[in-house]
């Protein structure tokens, strides 16, 4: 039981990071981006390449684990580089595709994101192949936090704890950005009323670019987290897409705080449902959550405005 909760929190962190990007692009660009999952995949694979690059540059080509973790500082650098590259990728896709369709109907953007996701996913497969990859082959020793006879016990690896901790730090940083900086206020203003934002002097195209950068960077970091705690596969992001949508809608689409809470709820629901429905149907849980929320509270748990 405890173990399932802990696993759910790790998955929930990844979902929360991805769902925040989804909800941001939804509220500012006004469309459901089916490509969000691919930014996770690309982030994870970019980090494979940037890690190789960092290791080559710093000499030796080997990564000494940092303290209790399975990886060294090089992976942190690689992750930041991957986040930057993924942000650039998002800007390029926007420039090539979405920017040209913004004047039309929002659903055209959804279809376009669908096509872009397909192309991006298979491009990864083309470039990196389909075999799973890992950042580190180090075996990690899980720390036993709760003995086995208390609620089934709890063992957590340092990597997993780091993922949860970093996610919370990132979310606090994002919250600070949105409420305390001019960029954040401009983003919230644009989400509320783009025409008024322009009249007030907001460069809306600039805000859109910032939104892509933030959303894609968070997705990339989430992708790297999947790579650290599980493995890196071309379907990594696609398989998370349904949980991302479920989390974003659960939290009330457009609400950053809601997406974080929604992410953890979906992560926990998935994890806790495993003993009930079996691991193979784990992904269906997100769908059940989604249908439930659409039927009962379509504006999400925290969404007040219709």
């Amino acid at each position: 039981m405890l173990q399932l909760v802990a696993d759910g929190l790790v998955v929930g962190s990844v979902i929360a990071l991805g769902a925040v990007g989804l909800t941001l692009t939804y509220s500012i660009l006004r469309f459901a981006n089916f490509g969000q999952g691919e930014f996770m995949t690309w982030g994870a694979y970019f980090a494979v390449s940037t890690l190789a690059f960092v290791l080559a540059v710093t000499g030796g080509g080997v990564m000494e684990p940092l303290g209790p973790f399975s990886f060294g500082w090089q992976l942190i650098v690689a992750m930041l580089l991957a986040a930057a590259l993924t942000a650039i990728l998002a800007l390029v896709v926007d420039w090539l595709l979405f920017r040209r369709l913004r004047r039309g109907n929002a659903i055209t953007l959804v279809i376009a994101s669908f096509g872009a996701a397909l192309a991006l996913r298979n491009l990864v497969q083309f470039l990196y192949g389909t075999l799973p990859e890992y950042y580190s082959r180090e075996i990690q020793i899980a720390i036993r936090l709760v003995p086995r006879d208390v609620m089934g016990g709890l063992r957590v690896t340092p990597d997993q704890m780091l993922v949860i901790g970093l996610t919370l730090v990132l979310m606090l940083a994002l919250q600070w950005l949105l409420t305390r900086t001019t960029l954040g206020r401009a983003m919230r203003a644009t989400a509320m009323n783009p025409a008024l934002a322009r009249v007030a002097g907001v460069d809306v195209e600039g805000v859109i670019r910032a939104t892509w950068v933030i959303g894609a960077a968070l997705a990339a970091i989430a992708g790297v987290f999947v790579g650290i705690t599980l493995q890196i596969r071309p379907m990594l992001g696609f398989d998370l897409l349904l949980p991302l949508f479920a989390a974003a809608i659960l939290g009330g689409i457009g609400s950053v705080r809601g997406a974080v809470v929604g992410g953890y709820i979906v992560g926990l629901a998935e994890s806790l449902s495993v003993p009930l429905v079996g691991a193979e149907y784990r992904a269906a849980t997100a769908f059940a959550v989604l249908i439930g929320i659409l039927l009962l509270r379509p504006n999400g748990l925290f969404g007040a405005r219709a």
Binding site: T182, A186, R188, A195, R198, V199, A200, G201, V204
Partner: protein, 238 residues
């Protein structure tokens, strides 16, 4: 003397081939309050939105203090010194009163920024509601905030679209008094209004727009009793 704001033979609209503005012209002298009047659907809102960069201008010119600003992106207009208060949804409802003003202030160059403290002096009601979400303000306070938001960027010309809409007659009086106070600080005002009487009471001059063209203009005091006014309004209604 150069006009503070001049629109010359503006043609434009929302969809290609469907002109709403058909050669509209008007001019506002520095320090003036000009009322832009006309029947419903005449294109008054469209004209000010076109000047603000929200509606495409197909031909004609918009000059601000002698500089050609035709076709500039809407967010650049603010930096040029043209302020605009739309008719509805004119505050960021999800931001607090203070954040509304902070945002507007942060977006313009430092030397343009008006001190937020002075703004709160001008609108004491807002001072008491700094932390409140703008969406929860009363109608009159919301209108004040919308004006304050535009003023923070210290515009040389301020365009307002029906600031009296939805307000009680008493509140209309209060808002218009504030507008006069704003004008007295040196801001030129173009005021779109349905409320002809109230508008003519504070305006120096008025322009009447019908079907996307100006049809009548003159000093406000003279237009109040001009029979042609009624004819234009009725003619459009018939």
């Amino acid at each position: 003397m150069t006009a503070a704001l001049e629109m010359a033979a503006i043609e434009g609209g929302y969809e290609p081939g469907l002109p709403i503005l058909r050669g509209a012209s008007l001019s506002v002298a520095p320090g003036e309050i000009v009322a832009l009047l006309g029947p419903n659907g005449a294109g008054k809102s469209t004209l000010v939105k076109a000047a603000a960069g929200l509606v495409p201008v197909w031909s004609g010119r918009v000059m601000l203090g002698g500089r050609d600003i035709t076709g500039l992106a809407a967010h650049r207009m603010v930096h040029e010194g043209l302020g605009f208060v739309p008719q509805t949804e004119n505050v960021f409802a999800n931001l607090s009163v203070l954040e509304n003003l902070q945002l507007a202030s942060a977006l313009v160059a430092r030397k343009r920024r008006l001190d937020l403290g002075r703004m709160f002096e001008l609108f004491p009601d807002l001072d008491r509601q700094r932390k409140l979400e703008a969406g929860r303000l009363s109608g009159g306070q919301r209108q004040m905030l919308a004006v304050a938001r535009a003023l923070v960027a210290s515009p040389s010309v301020l365009m307002l679209d029906e600031p009296s809409a939805g307000l009680s007659p008493k509140l209309v009086g209060v808002v218009f008094e504030r507008l006069k106070a704003v004008r007295d600080t040196g801001v030129t005002i173009l005021l779109v209004e349905q409320n002809v009487k109230a508008a003519l009471a504070i305006a120096d001059r008025a322009v009447v727009l019908v079907e996307g063209r100006e049809r009548l203009e003159g000093p406000a005091a003279e237009l109040v009793n001009d029979p042609r006014m009624a004819a234009l309004y009725l003619g459009a209604a018939a």
